[in-house]
C-alpha cells in the first residue's frame, strides 16, 4: 500500500499514460459488449422475451423457426406431456408489408400466438387482440417511426391480407425486424391463402412453425421420443439459429476477447519493463528487510488500482455515451453484464501482472551488495 501509492504519485506521467491506455481499452470493451448485447437483444427480442425453456421444431428445419412446420397433432402430444397450458403454438413468418396511404414498404415478422397464452407480450398502448378478434394486430412500437398508428391498416404483400393495428408492444423483434402479433385465426387464414397460392392443399394441417414449451429435462427427452419427426431445441439454440444471430455475435465476441487479451498484454509488458527497470530497487528493499510477499502485493495493488480506476472512468463514459446514442442504435448493458465484464477485465489485468510478480520473486537481495549505482 505504502510503496504502491507513493510510487504512483511520484511517477505520475508514467502511470497516467498507462492508465489512459487501459481506460481506452476498457471503454472499448464495455462499448462493444453493450453493442453486442444490444444487437443480440434487438435481433431476437421476441424469442428471448418468451418464457419458454424449449421449442419444438420440425426435424429438417435446422432449428430455424421460419423453416419449420408442425401440426395440431404435435401440439396435442407436446401438451399431453408438459400439460396443455405449458405448450403454446407459435407461428413465425417474415414478410413485407405496406401501410395504407404510403407506398413505404416495411420488413416485419409475423408472430402468431394464442392471445390468452403466455407467449403474448403485454400491450403498452392501445388494446390487445383476443382469440375472437379478426383482422387485428398488435405491433412493435418501432413501427411508429414509420408512421404507423393505432388504427392504421397494414397490408401483407405476399398474401394480400390486411390487419388493423389495435395496439403497440415494445421491444419485440425477430431477426432485427419489428414483430407483428396475430391471433391463431388470422394466422390460419394467412396459411390457407399461402397454400392456395401455392396450389397445394396439403399444407393446411401443418399450421404452426413451432411449439413453445415450458418443460424440465425429462419432459424434453420424453417429447423428443414421442415426436419422431420433430426436434426439441433449447431456447438458446433456437435464438442462435435466427438468421444472422450467430455471425453477428461471433464477430463481436471475437473483438471483445481480443480486447481482453490486448489489455492483459499491455499491462504485462508495461509492468514487466518497469519491474526490470526497478530490479535493483527491489533488491535493496529485500536486503533491508522487505518481504517478497510485501513487494508482490505492492505490484498487484498498482495493477488493481490502474484497472479499477480506468474501469470506473470508462463505465461513466459508456453511460454518458449511452445517453446520447440515437434510439436506432441498439445498446444494452445491464448490471449483470457490466459487472461480469468489469470482473473479467480486472481478472485479465491481474493475469497480466503475473509476469512481473514472477520477476519480483526472482530478484535476489544479494544484488544490493557491491553495486555502484542502482
Amino acid at each position: 500500500m505504502y510503496l504502491a501509492i507513493r510510487e504512483m504519485k511520484f511517477a505520475k506521467v508514467r502511470y497516467s499514460l498507462i492508465a489512459i491506455i487501459m481506460l481506452l481499452v476498457a471503454f472499448l470493451v464495455l462499448f462493444v459488449t453493450g453493442l453486442a448485447r444490444g444487437l443480440a437483444y434487438d435481433n431476437a427480442a421476441s424469442i428471448q422475451n418468451m418464457s419458454a425453456t424449449h421449442f419444438i421444431m420440425e426435424k429438417e428445419s435446422n432449428h430455424r423457426f421460419t423453416r419449420s412446420q408442425l401440426g395440431e397433432g404435435d401440439l396435442a402430444q407436446a401438451g399431453s406431456i408438459t400439460g396443455e397450458k405449458n405448450a403454446q403454438p407459435l407461428g413465425v413468418k417474415m414478410t413485407t408489408v405496406t401501410t395504407k396511404g404510403t407506398a413505404h414498404k416495411l420488413d416485419v415478422t409475423l408472430l402468431a400466438v394464442r392471445p390468452e397464452g403466455w407467449l403474448m407480450p403485454s400491450v403498452t398502448e392501445g388494446t390487445a387482440i383476443t382469440s375472437q378478434s379478426e383482422g387485428q394486430a398488435v405491433v412493435d412500437d418501432q413501427l411508429k417511426d414509420s408512421g404507423i398508428e393505432i388504427g392504421s391498416e397494414i397490408l401483407d404483400q405476399a398474401s394480400g391480407m390486411k390487419w388493423i393495428v389495435s395496439g403497440f408492444v415494445s421491444h419485440e423483434s425477430f431477426s432485427h425486424s419489428p414483430a407483428v402479433f396475430l391471433n391463431e385465426r388470422d394466422w390460419q387464414q394467412l396459411q390457407q391463402s399461402a397454400a392456395r397460392q401455392g396450389a397445394d392443399g396439403t399444407a393446411t394441417d401443418k399450421s404452426y412453425s413451432a411449439i413453445a414449451v415450458k418443460a424440465n429435462k425429462e419432459q424434453a427427452e420424453q417429447m423428443a421420443s414421442a415426436l419422431p419427426d420433430a426436434e426439441v431445441v433449447t431456447k438458446s439454440e433456437a435464438v442462435s439459429a435466427i438468421p444472422g444471430y450467430k455471425e453477428e455475435q461471433g464477430s463481436l465476441l471475437m473483438m471483445i476477447v481480443f480486447l481482453f487479451v490486448i489489455s492483459a498484454f499491455v499491462l504485462a509488458v508495461f509492468f514487466y519493463v518497469i519491474t526490470i527497470q526497478k530490479s535493483s530497487q527491489f533488491g535493496i528493499l529485500k536486503a533491508i528487510g522487505a518481504r517478497t510477499a510485501y513487494l508482490v502485493r505492492s505490484v498487484a495493488l498498482q495493477v488493481l488500482l490502474l484497472s479499477l480506476g480506468s474501469l470506473v472512468v470508462s463505465v461513466l463514459l459508456v453511460q454518458a455515451i449511452e445517453a446520447v446514442l440515437p434510439n436506432g442504435m441498439p445498446f444494452k448493458l445491464d448490471v449483470a453484464t457490466l459487472a461480469g465484464t468489469c470482473g473479467a477485465f480486472v481478472g485479465m489485468s491481474l493475469i497480466g501482472s503475473l509476469l512481473s510478480v514472477w520477476k519480483v520473486t526472482r530478484i535476489d537481495a544479494l544484488d544490493a551488495i557491491g553495486r555502484t549505482a542502482a
Binding site: R6, Q281, A287, I288, A290, A368, G370, R371, T372, A373
Partner: protein, 230 residues
C-alpha cells in the same frame, strides 16, 4: 564488552567452471559494542561475499554468524528477512534510497515493515534526521539531495529499527574527501553513541583514521594491520 557481531570459522566456496574456489577460509571476526571496523582488500578478495554473509544475505558453506550472541544458521528465508529488518542496518554504495519516497518516508517505510505504528515511526524518523542534520530536507526526494545527504539518510534509515549491527558497503565511494569524512564520522559517532557494532567495507584510505580497527582480507581471512606501520 559485548560483541554484538561475531563471525566464527566462516568458510565459503563457490563452484566455478567445475572448480571449487574458496573465497573465505576460516574467517573470524568479533566486533564489540560501539566499535567501527573497516575491512579493506583488493577487488576479488571476497569483501562483498564477507559482507553478504555478515548481512544474512548469503549462507556460509560452514561456520556461524552470531548476532547479539544468537546464531542465524538454519533459519529460513522469512526469518532471515526479519533478522535483516530488525537486527541489521545496511548502508549501500550509492543511490540506495527508494527514488519515489521522500526522506522522511524512507525511514517510515522501514519502521512500517517492522510493524511500528505510524506516529512513533514519524517521531523517531524526525529525531534521527534532526540528529544527522537533515531536518530541512525532510520532504525532499532523493534526486534533490547531494551525495553526502543521501548517505546520511541511508545511515538514518539503517538506524531506524534500532539494529544490533550496522553494515556499510563502500559508503564513501561516490563522495569527495571532505563529505566522505563527514559521513564516516557520523557513522562512527552513531555506532559509539548507540552501542552498535559497525562494519564498513571500503577502498577509501582517507577515512581509515576514523575507524577503531582496520582489517585486511587476505587469502580468505581477516588480518589486522597497525595503521602506524603503513
Amino acid at each position: 564488552m559485548r560483541h554484538r557481531l561475531r563471525l566464527e570459522n566462516i568458510k565459503r566456496t563457490f563452484e566455478d567452471g567445475g572448480m571449487q574456489r574458496t573465497i573465505l577460509d576460516n574467517l573470524n571476526l568479533q566486533v564489540s559494542e560501539g566499535e567501527l571496523v573497516a575491512v579493506m582488500g583488493p577487488s576479488g578478495s571476497g569483501k562483498s561475499t564477507f559482507l553478504s554473509i555478515a548481512g544474512a544475505l548469503l549462507e556460509p558453506t560452514s561456520g556461524d554468524v552470531l548476532l547479539d550472541g544468537e546464531s542465524i544458521s538454519g533459519k529460513n528465508k522469512k526469518e532471515l528477512t526479519d533478522i535483516r529488518l530488525r537486527q541489521l542496518g545496511f548502508i549501500f554504495q550509492s543511490a540506495n534510497l527508494i527514488p519515489y519516497l521522500k526522506v522522511e518516508d524512507q525511514l517510515v517505510l522501514v519502521a512500517k515493515l517492522g510493524g511500528m505504528n505510524k506516529s512513533t515511526a514519524v517521531r523517531r524518523a524526525r529525531e534521527l534526521l534532526n540528529k544527522l542534520g537533515l531536518t530541512p530536507r525532510l520532504n525532499a526526494y532523493p534526486d534533490k539531495l547531494s551525495g553526502g545527504e543521501r548517505q546520511r539518510v541511508a545511515i538514518a534509515r539503517a538506524l531506524m529499527n534500532d539494529p544490533a549491527v550496522l553494515l556499510a558497503d563502500e559508503p564513501t565511494a561516490s563522495l569527495d574527501a571532505s563529505r566522505g569524512t563527514d559521513v564516516v564520522r557520523m557513522l562512527a559517532g552513531e555506532a559509539k553513541e548507540r552501542g552498535k557494532s559497525a562494519v564498513m567495507v571500503t577502498h577509501d584510505e582517507r577515512i581509515l583514521s576514523l575507524c577503531d580497527r582496520v582489517l585486511y582480507l587476505e587469502d580468505g581471512r581477516l588480518v589486522e594491520k597497525q595503521l602506524a606501520l603503513r
